[in-house]
């Protein structure tokens, strides 16, 4: 057999074909949050349906909760949080709510609890569920109607996608992180370039990443339109599976969770690792990025009137001048957090830059560890002290926070944020807010200089 990893995962989870051309696939594990699940539960109630297998679901509070306190910051968010708790109690579903020592951002909590292993199929009402591909598991985001479908049937209606392999070969330079690798992929493939595809990441630059880095890569694969992202399981995966609450309880055997050597993909993309520099986004789509050493594009670089118009719209929204250098972009806020980059590994990288330095005058700097367990670990390692000594605000509660600003961490109109998050859309961090995506270390570098800065300049300083 010459099958891709993706096809193996689909084949092993296929329940049956349906007459209209879809198939039913089995969902091994389903995660819920407080904002995309309420209408799914009310859908069950209105149809008089039960949850098919309650123990295969986990619900966490992460999107709307305040991160300054374990108390909801307003009545509306409290309603969502309480509603999820009540639904879980009613249906016998595990619920890691505010104050629970296991609470945090769903895609940080799940690996931390040992709830993802190679060969699983995981669904969640959140687009960044592609994260689990880092473990050789098939994870993908679903809408609320599909959340209802999983709750009621433990399956989804599914159509097999085309496959794309993105190979990143060659050693990346010091200062280039997993975030820069995936931002480069988004830049090359384009924001919708992988619509309809399941993407497998391969090549020595990917294999060389730890699982945290692989999660960052797979997490942001949805920003190129990939509905699924995968990295073959290997010894690094195996090592990362040990030592968690659920470790050893699940083993999805029966296949090698990697593509066969002769497997053929519908599309191949190759990127040289040596070509990747630390990147920043300048626009309002994740594919609008340039190396930190470069300039914001100019309209005359482009021929197509449509592309020119899009460029001008993005520059206007972002308050930038065409051709200005990336390093000349001054920031108001630095944010480290989100399911993309709030793991312990991310906090360590940022702390390396912050140690012995101060956040620039006038910059508000916030760090929100991805989970309660991540926060406690970071505090034990002394990372909190480093962040606070530098002038970062260390948030005591975990959540998505300013990544999508559904809680009270909202950037103001015109506020410019250096952000370790995943989306620089118009209005994402607040109406009129201007987001620049980059790695956590680059956010730290921007925080201390007051403008976008090259992390590699810092490394040189500390080494001399």
């Amino acid at each position: 057999m010459n099958r891709t990893l993706y096809d193996k995962l689909v084949d092993t989870h296929k329940v049956c074909d349906l007459p209209d051309g879809d198939m039913l696939i089995y969902v091994d594990f389903h995660i819920m949050n407080e904002y995309t699940s309420p209408q799914a539960f009310s859908g069950l109630d209105s149809k008089g349906l039960n949850v098919w297998r309650p123990e295969a679901h986990l619900a966490v509070v992460d999107h709307v909760n305040a991160t300054r306190s374990s108390e909801p910051h307003d009545a509306a968010s409290k309603l969502l949080i309480d509603n999820l708790g009540a639904n879980c109690t009613k249906h016998g579903i595990a619920f890691y709510g505010l104050g629970d020592p296991r609470q945090g951002i769903e895609h940080i909590v799940v690996p931390e609890q040992g709830l993802v292993v190679p060969g699983m199929l995981i669904a969640c009402g959140d687009s960044h569920t592609t994260t689990y591909g880092a473990y050789g598991a098939l994870g993908f985001g679903i809408g609320t109607s599909e959340v209802e479908h999983v709750l009621a049937t433990q399956t989804l209606r599914y159509k097999r996608m085309k496959t794309m392999r993105v190979t990143v070969d060659g050693e990346t330079a010091p200062g280039v992180t997993a975030k820069d690798i995936i931002m480069k992929v988004v830049q090359v493939v384009g924001a919708g370039g992988a619509n309809g595809f399941a993407v497998e990441f391969a090549g020595s630059a990917i294999r060389g990443l730890d699982v945290a880095g692989r999660m960052t890569v797979c997490n942001m694969a949805v920003e190129l339109g990939a509905r699924a992202a995968l990295i073959a399981a290997d010894d690094i995966t195996k090592a990362a599976l040990k030592g968690h609450a659920h470790s050893g309880q699940f083993a999805f055997k029966g296949e090698n969770w990697m593509s066969d050597p002769e497997a053929v993909f519908h599309k191949e993309v190759t990127i040289a690792g040596t070509d990747i520099e630390p990147l920043i986004t300048w626009g309002t789509s994740p594919d609008q990025s340039v190396p930190i050493t470069a300039n914001v594009p100019v309209a005359s670089d482009y021929v197509s009137p449509k592309v020119k118009a899009a460029l001008e719209r993005s520059l206007k929204y972002m308050g930038l001048t065409e051709g200005q250098s990336a390093k000349s972009i001054e920031i108001d806020t630095a944010f480290i957090g989100s399911c993309t980059n709030s793991r312990i590994e991310d906090l360590r990288e940022a702390a390396k830059i912050l140690e012995g330095r101060k956040v620039a005058t006038g910059v508000e700097a916030i760090v929100v560890p991805g989970s309660a367990m991540t926060r406690i670990k970071a505090e034990a390692e002394g990372l909190r002290d480093i962040f606070e000594a530098a002038g970062f605000e260390w948030r005591p509660e975990a959540g998505c926070s300013m990544c999508l600003a559904m809680n009270d961490d909202i950037a103001m109109d015109g506020e410019r944020v250096a952000s370790s998050t995943n989306r620089n859309f118009e209005g994402r961090q607040g109406r009129g807010a201007r987001t620049h995506l980059m790695s956590p270390a680059m956010v730290a570098a921007a925080a201390v200089t007051g403008h976008l800065a090259d992390v590699r300049d810092f490394k040189q300083e500390t080494s001399t």
Partner: protein
């Protein structure tokens, strides 16, 4: 859902219109599906002050009456929020014609009777031009024949069979799938214990 959607088409040629733009987060703090029409495209339709933004296409005649959008590439990208589709339906949108849609948005649309015919770039651009210049002439989307007709344009579109069937029949996927309960039980019976996740409470 009828087999044919007819109405006025509004041009919305922006690329990469994401679901944050379709339904800004401040409208998501809700436990129901209702009340989302005002939130739909809110930051495009309204100024920060709440005043109507007169330059936005859906605020201009004849497109205030539009029930079809001709959209830019990669419409519906980003967040999985189904609220975006619920809001569009509540605003009276029955179809978006484009060159390609983000996957989760596409599936959400199907669940809510929002048709997303996929056409070539050339056809989309001709439809954009027509929508701009036709003073509200009717566009017809024949779901069964997978055909769009208006003025001098007659073009076929792509739509997978399952989505086409779902849109024409307007069925409830959850109840339909439960008719396969025996197959699901049989699949589960073949799993060994190590392949059954049980989350600690």
């Amino acid at each position: 859902m009828n087999k044919t959607i007819k109405g006025i088409a509004a041009p919305l040629p922006l690329t990469n219109v994401d679901t944050d733009v379709i339904m800004p987060k401040r409208f998501l703090i809700t436990i129901t599906r209702e009340g989302l029409a005002d939130g739909t495209f809110a930051d495009l339709r309204f100024e920060s002050s709440g005043q109507i933004q007169p330059d936005f296409v859906l605020n201009k005649a004849p497109w205030t009456q539009a029930n079809i959008l001709i959209v830019g590439d990669n419409f519906g990208c980003g967040s999985s929020r189904e609220h975006a589709v619920w809001g569009m339906r509540q605003l009276g949108i029955d179809a978006c014609i484009g060159t390609g849609f983000a996957g989760i948005f596409y599936d959400n649309a199907r669940k809510n009777g929002l048709a997303l015919p996929i056409v070539s770039t050339d056809t989309r651009d001709r439809l954009l031009q027509f929508a701009n210049n036709s003073n509200g002439a009717e566009v017809t989307i024949d779901l069964a024949a997978r055909k769009i007709t208006t003025g001098e344009i007659s073009a076929s579109f792509e739509m997978d069979d399952a989505t086409q069937t779902a849109l024409i029949r307007g069925r409830d996927d959850t109840l339909d799938s439960l008719e396969y309960a025996d197959a699901i039980h049989a699949f589960e019976a073949n799993l060994d214990d190590k392949m059954r996740v049980s989350v600690r409470k």
